[in-house]
Structure formats: structure tokens, C-alpha cells
Amino acid sequence: MRIAIDTGGTFTDCVFLRKGRLEVLKILSTPANPAEAILTAVRQIDPGPQVEIRHGTTVGTNTLLERSGARVALVTTRGFEDVIAIGRQARQNLYDWLATPEPPLVPPELRFGAEERTLWNGEVAREVDSAELQSLLQRVSASRPEAIALCLLFPFANPSNERRIAGALASLGVPLSVSHEILPEFREYERASTVVVNAYLAPRMGSYLRDLGQAVDSEFPDARLHVMQSSGGIVSAGLAAREPARTILSGPAGGVVGAYQVARLAGFERIITFDMGGTSTDVALVDSKSNGGLGTTNESVVAGHPIGVPMLNIHTVGSGGGSLAWFDEGNALRVGPQSAGADPGPICYGRGTRATVTDADLALGRLDPEFFLGGGMRLDEERTLEFMTRQRDSLPDVDAFAIGIVRVVQTTMEKAIRVISIERGHDPRDFTLVSFGGAGPVHACAMARALRIPRVVVPRFPGALSALGILLSDVVRDSSRTVMMAPDDRRLEGAFRDLEKRASLQMRAEGWKGVGFRSVDVRYVGQGYELNVPWGPGLLARFHDAHRKRYGYSDVARPVEVVNVRVRLVAPTGSVPLRRRSPGGKDASKAIVKQRRAWFAGRRVNVPVYDREQLRPGNRFTGSALVVEYSATTVVLPGCRARVDGWGNLIIEVS
């Protein structure tokens, strides 16, 4: 049996197949030791022998955000010890000279230079001699590191110096992260940052996964533990422990894969995911029609740290249901980035006193006080109206205040989606918005309208979509190397073969057989940004095409260079038979549980409230309407036509 387990802040979600049927289990998380909840869940599921556990973990993200990782020593080429701190020499806050950013993960006394040098063409200008090695070892050892990051200059052109030093440092017996193994690509600061983050997470992630693995192993014979990567692929727990930088967006990546798989099954290949939670919102664009897969980026920045290994292109903004509304000095209404969080929470939860997006939604009648969390929690409407009346400032009434909050937060979300779509050359009209997270479906129709996205899909299990994505993900091993060669350079073939050989050996050792996909990062000679295109005949035409699409022009006369070669080895998981639900005819009225006064199109009207559990495939209805379920409420705007498809997804055609 295969079980996908996604650890969240509040719930640990599990999705698994039992006798060909998809089942969902939700239990409370155990933040102090996430493994406890996982073990409890697996015991409840009782999978029998040979269980495969696939895990979406927040241990990496949290360690980075809380800055509770290891004491890392960084070894660089001498003269470049400070690059990790200097970064790109720019300041984050252009007009705030009192702001102080977080210090780098490696303080000055833990940065060590080695006398050595490799050049751009791979020539070794200075080898590491044994005296230097000895002294380096002594200095590093004396600093008592818990992990070591090694990042010299140009190790991707020739790793011999880095190998030699790594060999010596290995004797210190702490986790070692080596740049030509983790990210053999040019741009030293971004590579060093990735390697340092990896080292920073390695001890904690290593012991967490080891302990979890042993605990699972002792209770369930022949169990295997795998981990979701930020790239949307599965790896072994062993590799995740060695290269935790690959797992920072483990959970959110599950959400994107889940959305992608559900949408594809429903017939939509180009999607924008919209995952709005309490304090933040994640958006991502997946265009599998154009690039045949999920699409990843190598330019992510997490908590201020560049991470150069492939990640799904997830863009996060600090606005969510709990974001607070306030008026600035010039009397403009602002929403966020401060959030009411879980404590005190929105006004309607009973303890908060300041208006949030969720309060505005409730005040407009777009949430139902009785059906929140499946009725497990009653929202206090009266209290909300009372506090909001007091805070509305110059606005005439609570309705105007609430509408204002919703418009402002939706503008922020719209901007986030514009960044990942329009700014990157995609037309939102060609996409479907897949919405999940507690607050997503409340605002999805409005977002779609604002961006002229023709359709919204609210998946069948919006609260367990991440776990579903993890269950459905393929096993993936990404590798790459900077080569800087002409596209017809014969050495490219060798570079590809090297990568393929190493990756497949590794995969085979873990019991998988992967299929290789070759691609290259290409640019016009002299450009500073690359486009990733599949390798093979017609490469140049594909590149010019991609360039025109993304940047509005191309120039076939200009020389082109291959910057990086990439190999992605994929061991497919195979399809999971999602069950079609029995159809129930067009009439959806049986699912109506009540009417509610809600604000739509400039006035308060009576709208039907549908219970998602009672909707059947084939049911159709037209907005205005609310659809309530355990973990979310969907708002169907006036004129939008909703239907339930064979898998229980809610599909809304936005007018």
C-alpha cells in the first residue's frame, strides 16, 4: 500500500488507496515532533507489510524560517569568503535606511578560504597542496561546526580541487554539502547560498528522517520512506536527508501537483493554482500543454536565501484570510501584511478585535456562520459587525468597509497571478484557475473575472489536495551542469551521458528505473538569462520560438549558447484509479441546505447554500450561490455556471 502524508500546521493529511478506492484521513498535527502524528496515522490506516510512505514535510521550511538550523562552516576559494554575506551588494529596502536584514546563515568566524583556483575553462590555476589541506582541516575543525558547506569557484568546470578538499573534510565526521554535487552551475553566490542552506538543514532533516524511518521500520516490516521535493517529484528519504535544500517547498509542491493531476483528469492542461490560506497565498502556473510537465524554476528565493535547485514556480504573497485591514496616514485602506494568525484570529472566531479578510467575507454573507469547519466552529456574525462598524473610518457603512477589504486583497492576489502569468508571457485567458486552501474558493471566481480566466475548478478534496499530489507524483532525480558551449559542440553528448550515468546508478541503488529527459538552458550569446528547452533536433527553432513567446522578439541571426545541460530521470508512479462518482442528474436543488442574505452585484440578495457532500456528478446550478464543505466555502458569483464533474470536482464557468 502507498500512503501520502502531508504535515501541515494544524492537520496532518493522509491520502491512500485501499482496494482501489481513494481514502482520506485527517488527524491533528504534532508540531513538536511531526513524526508522532505520522505514526498515529499509519497505525490507524493499518497498511500491512511493504507499505510505501510518501511524506510532505515542513521540517526544512520551518528550520529555515525559525533559523534553528546547524552551525555551518563554509569553505570557499580564498578571497571570496564574504561572498555569501555580500550577496548581490544591493539593499532590500530602497527607502528605509533603518531596516536591518537577517544576518547570513554563516557568521564571519565560520567562513574559511582555501588557497586554490580553477578557471572558467576548467584549467586548474592552482592545485590544493597538502600543507594547505592540513591547515584548512585544522581551522575548520577548531570552529566546531555541526555541518560544512564547500563552494569553490568554477567546480562545475572541473571538480578536482573541490573533490580533494571534500575528501579531507569528510574526516571531520559532520554532514558535508559540496557545491559541484548539489548544484554544479555558475553564479557563485546563488550556488553558495543553496549549498549553505543545504548544510544548515542537513543535521536536523537527517535525524528527523532517520528517526521516522526507524520508527516506521520497527512497526511495519519492509516499509519504505520517501519524501516530496520542491520540484514536484519524489525521492528516497536517504537522498532527502543528504540534500534537504530540495525539500523546502515539499508541502506546497504537493498542492500544485495535486491541482495539476486533478485538472488534467478533468480535461484541463493549462492551470493557475490559487492556494489561499490564513496568512499567505501561493500561486503557480502549470502549462503542461506547452512544456509537457509541471515546469520548474532555478531562481527561487526562500526567506531571503536564493535556492538554485529546481523548484516548482510557486509565488507566495503575504496575504490570506487572516490579513488585517487598516488605514494608512493618507487614508488609503490597506490589507496585510500583518495577520491575525491563529491567535487571536479574525473577529468572527471570537477573540480577535481587528477586521480581517475572513471577517469581511462573513460580513458580506459570503461565509455561512453555521457551516464553518463542517459546523465544528460557529462564526460570530454579530461581534464581527460590531467591531467592523467601529473600525470603518470614513467609509459610510460596514458593507462599504467589507467590500473595500475584499477589493484590496483581491488586487494583491491579482498582482501575484499577473507576476506568474502575464509578466512571463502567458495569457490568463488560456488557463483554468484551480483553487484550494481555506480561503481560496471564496475569492476564486472574482480573481478569475478580474484576470479574464474563463474557468474555476474547486477539486473534490480541496483540504487534502497536497497529500493527493504527493500520492500521484513520479519519482524524479534532477541533475545539471554548466557547460557554456555552442549548441553544435560535440562535447555536449558526453556531458549528458555523464549526468545520466550518475543519476541512474543512484536511482537503481534505491530500486527505481528512470526514463531520462534531456534539456538545455539556452541564451543568445551575451544575454544573462536562459530559457530551458528540450534537447534534440530542432533545438534552435524551439529556442527562438520560446524567446519570442516570452520576450516578444527573437533573432535567428544572433549566435546562441548552451549554458546548462539538464537531465531529469523519471520513474513514473503509474496512474491511480480515481473513482468516478455515480451521476445524479442536472438538478442540484436537493443539495440546498438553506438560503442566506449575501452581498452580490451591489446589493443584498437571497442566495442558496449548497452542501458539497450532497452534490452529485452532473448537478448544475447558476450563481449567485455558496457551496459549503468541511474545509472551504466556494462563492459562485452571479451569472457563473457551476457543475459537478464525474470525479466530484466543482467546475465553474466564469461569465
Binding site: G79, F80, E81, D82, V83, I86, R88, Q89, A90, R91, N93, L94, Y95, D96, W97, L98, A99, T100, P108, L119, W120, A125, L153, F154, F186, R187, E188, E190, F327, D328, E329, G330, N331, A332, L333, R334, D393, S394, L395, I403, G404, R407, V408, T411, T412, K415, R418, V419, I422, E423, Y524, G526, Q527, G528, Y529, R550, Y551, G552, Y553, R558
Partner: protein
């Protein structure tokens, strides 16, 4: 504040975000499509959206030095050209809407259907790595603007959507790296078009009067912020001076003087540069647009970080800038360094005056120079000519609440460095060091940030130009803090000779020679004896 109650707080917030989004999208397009490292890696560019009167309503978070000066480019394009639909103006003349020659600005008027006058303008400005003239990189020690590069007055570059091919040929014939220039200019055009398109879409969605009303409201709104701030500052006259080392053409120290007159009752301020030295032979003369930008920047920093950067902000400020001085130069003064060096000193001087009015909010002097380094020659690996330009950050002045940051760009610039590995792929250089210059920050209760050390070995015969300041005079401390260390430069010849480089110089160097730049530290804040032990 009676008028503020009339504004719709929701519209204000929403439209501020929408306008800003357009400027940001233009910037993203420019960055992604440009060819030169200077634009795409270092991000030395700005994009902005203007109303029909040419007042800036939104600007991307790009380069502060462009803040006040972009509107002047738009102004001159409006005044001197009859822009028709799909026309795009180009200019770089510092004496006609520009700042210094490498900064090339494009302006497009946005017309709506059935309207004869433009409703909006969009503009992009980018620093080009070479624009011709005596020295590769066009930042050398010239004494007349004619030596600094090709001077483009406001002219139409695109007519009805079609590039003027002869004009383009003329420009490209005058620069050292024509292919790269063409790529960058094309990228700027694309960014303008995207801005115009988005404004058209916005009007289609919201209607023209709503968009225009919100632009006007946004200008008032920014004004409000600064007026509120000016109302809180103490009344009085605050004088300060600071100096540039020299002009690089034989002058002594050059004085910049400012008198800041604050009137909290009327919520107004006057910034008077009377007493500043006359313009000089060397290239550090600043045109009025730069002084305006520096003043804009200093006041902008007194406000909350997300205050919109619109033209309204400057309404309560009255500027007195005597003509013929280094802060308001006349032709044919050379001006390449005014934008990068003098702009920083104007900020230093103004902050020194502001510190008397608001001592607990103003940092000590930062490095005060952009350490402009330009290297040109022929790359032996491929026989092509190259022109490399970069700025090197320094120490930030200590703040009243914390030490200054080390090795970071401050005030009027925020351009990124070029990665060492990208540098060595693209140019015949070997970098030997890129690190903090330890101990260069001034001591104090809070210490100034340290400067940087960058040492580059040349692998080909090259012409090297340095344009830097704070080599003799140090960045000042405040409230008893010590000044930061001044900067230094060295040339280590391959035969073992070492020369100390003056702040502003140009010289030939051969393969194997090394250039080492040590940038200034920031000044300290408060007395050292009050420092909590670290």
C-alpha cells in the same frame, strides 16, 4: 486634512497597486529581454507611468537616482516633440531631460481612441555600458560633454510603430558594442509598449475618467504624506556642507552647501543650495535633474517604505539651485560623474542638515561614492571588443538604532554586482578577491558598515577608468561617531611595481596587471564609549 476625507480609501489603494503593477511589469520585461549584464544582471534601469501632464504616478522599485529625473525626460519630450500614436521618443542629453549620457531614456505617449491628445505617458531608462566618447564605458575623465559620448537630444526613435533605421544606424556607429546596444534599445522599446498596452487595457476596464481621477488622487495622497511629516519636524534653518575630493582635472575639494528651511506650520520646506561651488572642468558636474532626484530621495526616506513615489511628494518642497554650480551645471560641462558621485554627496549634505532637525532618524554618512570602474579592450579569446562597467558598493553609515550594513549600495543606487563566474566567462579578467574591507567602518556607539575590496587581474591589454570619490575626505560620523575610512585604489603592475590610484583616473594596463579597489566605510553614530560590548 479636510480634503483627505473626500477620497475613496478603497479606490486609492486598488489603483495605487494597479499603476505600480504596470511599472513593475515594464521593468520585468526590460530586465528579461536586455542583452548587457549592466541591465539584466545589475538592474541599472527604471520604468515609470505618468499622467497626461507628465507627472509621475508610479515608478518601479528600481534606481533612486532616476526618481526625480525621469519626469524631466517626459517633460522635454512633451515640450519638444509632437508625439503621435505609437511614436516613441529617445533622449540622453543631460541638458535636455537626461542625466548623463549612458542613461538612455525612451518615452511613449499613450493615446486613447478618438482622443487627439495623449492621456498618459510611459518611460524607461537604462544605463548603457557604452555610449561612445573618449573612453570605453563612457564614464571617463572628460572636460566637455562632447568627449563623453554620443549626445541624443529628444528625437523620435519610433514613428507610428516603425523604428527610424537611420537614427539607429547613427547611434550604433558611435558606440563600441553596437550589437549589445541594439539589443538593449530594443528591450527598452518592448518595455514601453507593454506599459502603453496595460494602460489601454486599464482604461477599457475602468473607463478613462476613473483612471485619470485616481491618478490625480494618488498625487494628492503622496503630497499629504510629506506634508504630515513636515508638520512634525521642528521649525528653523539648518545649514550643512560637505565636499567632493576633486574633479579629477586638477581642482581641490568642491563644496556643496545647503540650507534647509523648515516651516511646520505651513507644512513646507525650502532646500537652498546657495553657496555651492561653481561648475568645474572635470566630469562631476550634476544637472538640475540629479539634484532634484537627490532631494526627492532624502525626503522620500522620511516616509513609510510603501508610500507611492509620485510627483505629488515634491509639491511641499521648494528648491533653490543656483545656475552654473556643480549642482546645476550649464553646457558644455562634462557630467558623467554628476549622476553617480555628486548625487551621493548632495544626499550626504542634505542628510547632514536634516540630522540637525531630526537627529534620531538620520544615519551617518555612507560610503558616498559608487566607485565606477570601467575596463575596455579586445578579448583575446574571440577578438571582439568589450566594455565592462560596474559599481562597487561600500559601507552604510551607522544608524541611530544599529550599526551600518557592510558592502551594500546606499542612497542613489542599488545596482547589483556581476557574479565573478559570469564576469570571467564574459571578459578577459581573473578576480582575486571580493570581500569586506574589515575595520573600515567608523567607530561609535553604532559602527559604520565596512567597505569592500575587489581585486581584478587583467588578462588582456586594457584601458581602465576609475571614477570614485571619498579618497581624501572621509564619510562623516554623527552624534560623536567617527568618520568611515576613505577609499583607496591600487595598480599592481605585472613587474612588481605598485601605484596608488587617484580617485578619478584613466590609464592603460597590460595583461597580468591587477587593479585593486578598496571602497570607503560608513561613518559611526554616537560616541564609542556608549557602545555595548559585542
Amino acid at each position: 486634512m479636510a480634503d483627505k476625507k473626500k477620497r475613496d480609501p478603497v479606490e486609492l489603494s486598488v489603483f495605487q497597486s494597479l499603476f505600480h503593477s504596470i511599472a513593475e511589469e515594464m521593468g520585468a520585461a526590460l530586465r528579461r529581454t536586455a542583452f548587457s549584464p549592466n541591465i539584466k544582471e545589475r538592474r541599472d534601469y527604471s520604468c515609470a507611468v505618468f499622467d497626461g501632464a507628465g507627472e509621475v504616478v508610479a515608478m518601479g522599485d528600481h534606481m533612486p537616482v532616476h526618481l526625480g529625473s525621469m519626469p524631466m525626460s517626459v517633460r522635454i519630450a512633451i515640450d519638444s516633440l509632437d508625439l503621435a500614436p505609437r511614436d516613441i521618443a529617445i533622449l540622453n542629453d543631460p541638458y535636455a531631460g537626461g542625466t548623463h549620457l549612458p542613461d538612455v531614456t525612451m518615452v511613449q505617449a499613450v493615446f486613447l481612441r478618438r482622443m487627439r491628445k495623449p492621456m498618459f505617458y510611459v518611460a524607461t531608462r537604462a544605463h548603457h555600458a557604452d555610449i561612445g566618447g573618449m573612453f570605453p564605458g563612457s564614464m571617463g575623465p572628460c572636460t566637455e560633454i562632447y568627449q563623453e559620448g554620443v549626445r541624443i537630444p529628444p528625437v523620435k526613435f519610433v514613428r507610428a510603430g516603425k523604428i527610424d533605421a537611420s537614427l539607429l544606424r547613427l547611434i550604433l556607429a558611435n558606440v563600441r558594442t553596437p550589437m549589445e546596444r541594439e539589443g538593449d534599445l530594443t528591450a527598452q522599446l518592448g518595455a514601453c509598449r507593454i506599459g502603453a498596452l496595460r494602460l489601454e487595457e486599464m482604461v477599457e476596464k475602468y473607463g478613462v475618467s476613473r483612471v485619470r481621477n485616481n491618478m490625480a488622487t494618488l498625487l494628492d495622497y503622496s503630497e499629504q504624506f510629506l506634508r504630515a511629516e513636515l508638520g512634525r519636524l521642528p521649525a528653523g534653518s539648518f545649514c550643512a556642507e560637505d565636499f567632493l575630493d576633486d574633479d579629477g582635472a586638477g581642482s581641490g575639494p568642491i563644496r556643496i552647501a545647503v540650507t534647509l528651511r523648515l516651516d511646520p506650520r505651513k507644512r513646507r520646506a525650502e532646500v537652498d543650495f546657495t553657496g555651492t561651488d561653481p561648475q568645474v572642468d572635470g566630469s562631476i558636474n550634476a544637472v538640475y535633474a540629479i539634484t532634484y532626484s537627490a532631494v526627492y530621495y532624502a525626503f522620500r526616506c522620511l516616509l513609510a517604505a510603501d508610500t507611492p513615489a509620485t510627483a505629488g511628494l515634491m509639491r511641499p518642497i521648494c528648491l533653490v539651485v543656483p545656475k552654473g554650480t556643480v549642482v546645476n551645471a550649464h553646457p558644455p560641462a562634462a557630467v558623467a560623474g554628476g549622476n553617480v558621485e555628486t548625487s551621493q554627496r548632495i544626499v550626504d549634505t542634505l542628510l547632514r542638515a536634516l540630522a540637525q532637525a531630526a537627529p534620531d532618524r538620520i544615519p551617518a554618512a555612507s560610503s558616498g561614492t559608487m566607485n565606477n570602474l570601467t575596463i575596455g579592450g579586445i578579448d583575446p579569446r574571440n577578438g571582439n571588443s568589450f566594455a565592462y562597467y560596474e559599481t562597487i558598493a561600500g559601507g552604510m553609515g551607522a544608524r541611530p538604532n544599529a550599526d551600518g550594513l557592510s558592502g551594500v549600495h546606499t542612497h542613489m543606487t542599488n545596482s547589483l554586482n556581476t557574479p565573478i563566474e559570469a564576469l570571467e566567462y564574459s571578459y578577459p579578467f581573473r578576480v582575486h578577491s571580493y570581500s569586506y574591507r574589515k575595520g573600515s567602518g567608523g567607530k561609535g556607539k553604532f559602527r559604520g558598515g565596512d567597505g569592500l575590496v575587489r581585486e581584478i587581474e587583467l588578462l588582456a591589454d586594457s584601458q581602465v577608468t576609475l571614477l570614485a570619490d571619498r579618497r581624501r575626505l572621509q564619510p562623516y560620523g554623527l552624534s560623536g561617531g567617527e568618520p568611515g575610512a576613505s577609499g583607496r585604489g591600487y595598480l599592481f603592475r605585472v613587474d612588481g611595481r605598485a601605484e596608488e590610484l587617484p580617485g578619478k583616473c584613466t590609464f592603460s594596463a597590460g595583461a597580468g596587471d591587477r587593479v585593486r579597489i578598496e571602497t570607503p566605510g560608513g561613518g559611526g553614530w554616537g560616541t564609542e564609549s556608549d557602545r555595548k560590548s559585542d
